[in-house]
Symmetry: C2
Subunit: 145 residues, 2 copies
DNA sequence: CATTTGTCTATCATATAAGTAGACTTGGCG
DNA sequence: CGCCAAGTCTACTTATATGATAGACAAATG
């Protein structure tokens, strides 16, 4: 289970993806449309900005907007920023690895299985981007037709 | 991330899988070998027994043992018993579904992606069993040679 | 310079996780 | 029968994470 925080962050990004190219979007606007507590959302957006997923503009006419095209940011990246590790165990995490006390990692059966699980999950989350979070009809891959 | 509790449960099952067919195993034995706080382990094993994953025998010569052959119990089943949902969001959980307030599930982009992720994860966890948790050399699939 | 908007710090409430203690029950065995 | 070895159950305790809120501060626009 991902935290509410991560969920809120992903929803907000989906909204910003839909508004991409239309200039800054108000925090209050996102909060209302996506039904997210505004002060909580503030901290999430700030975090995403600090990790270069978002950019912002202050003052009148300001707001938040995606730092890059929606397709450029994977869901895995976002989840790692807000929610931390994607793997089910610290000892199989690629980005948040911590050594497993009390077990020989080389022979650990649990570790072996969890590594496989991680790969399967990541295969999806690395490929999907915040473009895929846009609500409504499924976005077609136009490609280079 | 799965909880320590789930992790302990899986490790314990891995140990019991290795001892399968050799009669009851003491809680204290599992706790020592797998370095799990004994009282904590007690409650986990009891929970697994209540869900028919384990059986136990009381009194002298008693202990815990698998209710079925190691291959018969999937990791998904165990994780659901101890740790709850496998999906990343309640609204895409197959076994612990709760309706998503504040969002139209049909059109929710996040939900769509999380359902795909869940499928990828489950494909592994439904297939792997506690047989796969046995430490040491990778178990070969002998099959019906 | 005043208003709008994002930024930052601090705090709080609650829930969950993790672990501990001790009494109770069951069953084997002499 | 009666002891002892095991699992069973109840009740806490403590630590940490989560979710949320309030308010002061800083920057940019017009």
């Amino acid at each position: 289970m991902i935290s509410k925080k991560t969920q809120y962050g992903l929803k907000a990004l989906g909204y910003l993806a839909a508004e991409y190219g239309k200039g800054p979007v108000l925090i209050a606007d996102i909060a209302e449309k996506k039904k997210i507590p505004i002060k909580f959302l503030e901290s999430i957006l700030l975090l995403l900005k600090q990790h270069s997923v978002l950019e912002s503009k202050k003052g009148k006419g300001g707001g938040y907007f995606l730092a890059n095209a929606p397709k450029k940011t994977s869901l895995a990246a976002v989840i790692r920023i807000i929610g931390g590790p994607i793997a089910m165990l610290p000892c199989v995490s690629l980005n948040f690895y911590t050594k497993c006390e009390d077990c020989d990692e080389v022979n650990c059966g649990l570790r072996r299985v969890m590594a496989i699980t991680r790969d399967a999950t990541l295969k999806v989350l690395e490929k999907k981007t915040i473009q895929d979070l846009v609500d409504g009809c499924v976005e077609m891959e136009i490609g280079t037709i």
